[in-house]
Symmetry: C2
Subunit: 417 residues, 2 copies
Amino acid sequence: MDMPTTKPDITKLRVNGQRLWDSLMELAQIGATEKGGVCRLTLTDLDKQGRDLVTRWAREAGMTVTIDKIGNVFMRRAGRSNMPPIMTGSHIDTQPTGGKFDGNYGVLAGIEVVRTLNDHGIETEAPIEVAFWTNEEGSRFVPVMMGSGVFAKAFTLEHAYAATDTEGKTVKGELERIGYIGDQEPGDHPIGAYFETHIEQGPVLEDHDKTIGVVTGVLGIRWYDCVVTGMEAHAGPTPMALRKDALQVATKLMQEVVACAHRHPPHGRGTVGMVQVHPNSRNVIPGSVKFSIDLRNATDALCEAMDADIRAVAAKLSQESGLPIEITPVSAYTAQPFHADCIAAVQKAADTLGYSNMRAVSGAGHDAVYMARLAPAGMIFIPCKDGISHNEIEDAKPEHIEAGCNVLLQAMLERAG
Amino acid sequence: MDMPTTKPDITKLRVNGQRLWDSLMELAQIGATEKGGVCRLTLTDLDKQGRDLVTRWAREAGMTVTIDKIGNVFMRRAGRSNMPPIMTGSHIDTQPTGGKFDGNYGVLAGIEVVRTLNDHGIETEAPIEVAFWTNEEGSRFVPVMMGSGVFAKAFTLEHAYAATDTEGKTVKGELERIGYIGDQEPGDHPIGAYFETHIEQGPVLEDHDKTIGVVTGVLGIRWYDCVVTGMEAHAGPTPMALRKDALQVATKLMQEVVACAHRHPPHGRGTVGMVQVHPNSRNVIPGSVKFSIDLRNATDALCEAMDADIRAVAAKLSQESGLPIEITPVSAYTAQPFHADCIAAVQKAADTLGYSNMRAVSGAGHDAVYMARLAPAGMIFIPCKDGISHNEIEDAKPEHIEAGCNVLLQAMLERAG
């Protein structure tokens, strides 16, 4: 490689936004839907085409490609030293009615960083790696964030291999079929630091008119099922005072799920998304109501506090009404704060580049959550239109796409030296 | 008929409770279910068997039987005069998982009144008639209360004839098949007064430990569908302040449906029985919620006031939340107060007989509602166990069955002279 003799001012480096946009649009052709979205489910033929295209681009940029046993792909640009690489990445699988940016942006932003370094003949101390992780979306096989989860030993390779889709096909069989089952032992791959760029998947940046979200962490999640048991009875002959109306008690608790989030600001979130009323008949007082509770907050301690809060409220409502209320945990994901150094690197890059920015949290899971268990990690958000993702109308502005990639470049260079 | 020479003290007359109970149990054998209930859907072979048995009993009691074109059956005990008859009745069709008493009690109590008059050789001035009305339950053919509805010209004979069951069989065809399509023009049958005994189908009498409910009227009903439209979004990335959570607004309105009933005492009733959440996914903020509203009260003016109340609350909630709320009327049934003279006759009979009693309203529809449009009408309620009806475990106590029939006897005799 032809190196410059004087140290360049890396703060003046900028990525090629048009090239990045063009790559995003080209990748989005694989599995393109009529409504302008992408359907490229993990480990399908289309996923193989996507993987082939991205790894071809990586090789064309002089990167070496390795694959691990769960199909995670690592594309490496050598550094001066053999230090653990500064890594970025995300995923290229999509939801069945997914968009062009979710995941894909994080991977292609990494490729664009490497192309930019190549353009300017910049060598880094640590190697630069771009990864894409298998089956982040979880819409064909569960669990979600499968590749990064196996990599971080959140669950075993065997567990992931055994997962089946609705047709009974396994992850292992499909990996073999598309030729993306590698030799590397998942996790047997040191990481110096990890950054991930992603569309926000929420409305906060757009609402605040900011270009960059400096992500401080990913919210912890607690999922529950709740059942209120009353007594079904005819709506006509049963006077109000003699009713055991399960829905009336349930709706009070549904209100409290939201109130509980407000009692734990600024990041507390409470959602009832699913409701089943029994017998669900117009003139019958509901005998039982089952509904979901989704509580989220920035730390596990706050999630725990929300858990205690909603249980106390439920106990009080049960006592007042005389109706049993049962709350059953369904699943829990720990909160994952990002590393102070990585947050600072993203913040500094955004400030230096002059992009309007704000601190943000991620309410959704990302591969970066698992990477944060293994190495210092951070994320960069850019706005997405109306906060909509997992939808064919998912959209982001070219200038935001470019800005996020510039922040990634600066943050990675700061860490890579 | 061998008449006594002195006028008997009719207030001393009592029905034969055991005979009435035995008849109820015998009729309940036709369509008996394993769980102790009855499945005798209208215009089936089992209904024909039930009709044959009851009319045989009527003929054995010296009554003449006539049938109208919608299959309503009138069993007449002649009076001294040809005045319009004092009529009682109800129905003998049941729900698919019905009980032994709903409807059947009202018909067999009438038969027992006649048997008692026969036992004591008592002649009345007005004739006594016992009717059973076709398809009160409405579980095989709609509309409900079909026979009495056609009789009262609430809808046409043609409309009723054309109703089909799930197999496509028509009311007219089934009436012909079981041989219960008569010559009389429905409604072409004067009535002097109408009484109906019925299990309460609610918990009020049991709760107050009263034997007799002196029914003052039947509640009017207003049915609505309500749709709250928000914006579906991911439960994770969307902070509380930026949500348009349709369920949170809907649950406030569901609470108000009950509050509205309490604001219109003592007979106001408000029920949300049916709820559909869209997309009904655990981690998606609901984008829209559709639910039913059932409002009832003792007069149409009160129903109208509740209608205005809930619409005003919905408008306020919509304004506060910024979410559209649409309330669409589905159907309405007018309130039907009973005739003061009939209420007084039932009250006097219960008092004279020394039965504990209270004023009551009916929250459910009965054939008496349509008869009240044609003649002075009243109803007598007796308690049913736990307020449960339309269920195989429906139960009533023999002493209450007997008491209600004694009240019916006295009230009819007062009106029949």
